[in-house]
Amino acid sequence: MGASCFFEWKKLRSGDNIVRRCYEHVNIGDALGPLRKGPLTSAHLLRWSAAMENWHKIHYDRRFAVEHDKLPGILVNGTLKQQFIMQLLREWAAHDGWVWKVGFQFRAMNLEGETLSMWGRVTRKRKANRYGLVDLELGIMNDEKKESTPGTAVIALPYEKGEPVPYPFVPPEGE
């Protein structure tokens, strides 16, 4: 597996020329995304609930959500928002890197009809033996600039002249 493989994979998806993202080429303050999804309709939310076999009515039964649970509408599933964040991080890390740790807090609701923008920003870099570690802050913003899902992540990236990050991932000692 090497850079050319990834180049080929990336061509399959989007024509992007990024081969691999190396630790040395990342700077504190670098932005990820945004990855945009939406507007998220009731069909999107029902499709996700069905794929998950999660039948919690607040995600697809408007009457129950509003009249029974006193919510302002049907809610975008937290698990769906997690997937969106993972996609943003995974695509940024590329196939020689690894999304090791991710944390999300569901601080605010997102409702049917919203378009979500997943974003990230590099906050810290540190070296481990076989790869570099990049800390990020992240979140999900709707079009009214309301942040709903603040979080953090740690991504392992290969060194420019190093091997890909090991897979399965081997955490650095002491973390």
Partner: protein
């Protein structure tokens, strides 16, 4: 009246047995999942692409194992039991696989407050996944809507061969 009864306090630290997902990682389930979260990465379906990368075979999205613990064949339909209950919120089964449900008063809802995930590798199509969970902490807080419980559940997801896929800490709000 508080929600954190001695009966609930006694469940802190309680562990599940090792639960086995009722199906292995199915290609069709992965298709529905990635279509529902709108992530068309070919590593989720292409033998050709994954063979050239480090995954060896098509894989499921990183968080997919968290959603594999579903109602097996031959078990009672939980909807039948609630067919005439207007307060039924659609949540069925334990909210953490294998853990005893918290003995809470009727009408107490559940919100997903956040998740911390550590990813070690992806599950391949066809692999069997297991999970073992534990009530890590249960604390009570006051909210504007009255008392609520913050319930932190730790789960490790592994292949049936014992390889660690994910470690997850989920925080649930019960109020």
């Amino acid at each position: 009246m508080g929600l954190l009864t001695s009966e609930i306090k006694n469940l802190i630290g309680a562990e599940s047995g090792i639960e086995v997902a009722c199906e292995p990682v199915e290609r069709g389930a992965v298709r529905r999942y990635v279509q529902a979260c709108m992530d068309d990465d070919p590593i989720f379906h292409s033998q050709e692409v994954t063979h050239r990368l480090r995954y060896e075979a098509p894989v499921a999205p990183p968080l997919f194992p968290m959603n594999m613990f579903r109602r097996p064949f031959g078990t009672p339909d939980p909807f039948a039991e609630h067919a005439h209950n207007p307060d039924f919120d659609g949540i069925v089964g334990s909210t953490a696989q294998g853990l005893p449900p918290l003995p809470l008063p009727k009408g107490i809802g559940l919100l997903n407050a956040g998740t911390e995930v550590e990813v070690l590798r992806y599950a391949r199509h066809g692999e069997v996944v297991t999970a073992k969970s534990r009530y890590h902490s249960i604390t009570e807080k006051e909210s504007s809507k009255g008392p609520m419980l913050l319930v932190v559940i730790e789960t490790e997801y592994r292949t049936d061969g014992g390889e660690l896929l994910l470690r997850v800490e989920k925080t649930q709000i019960r109020r």
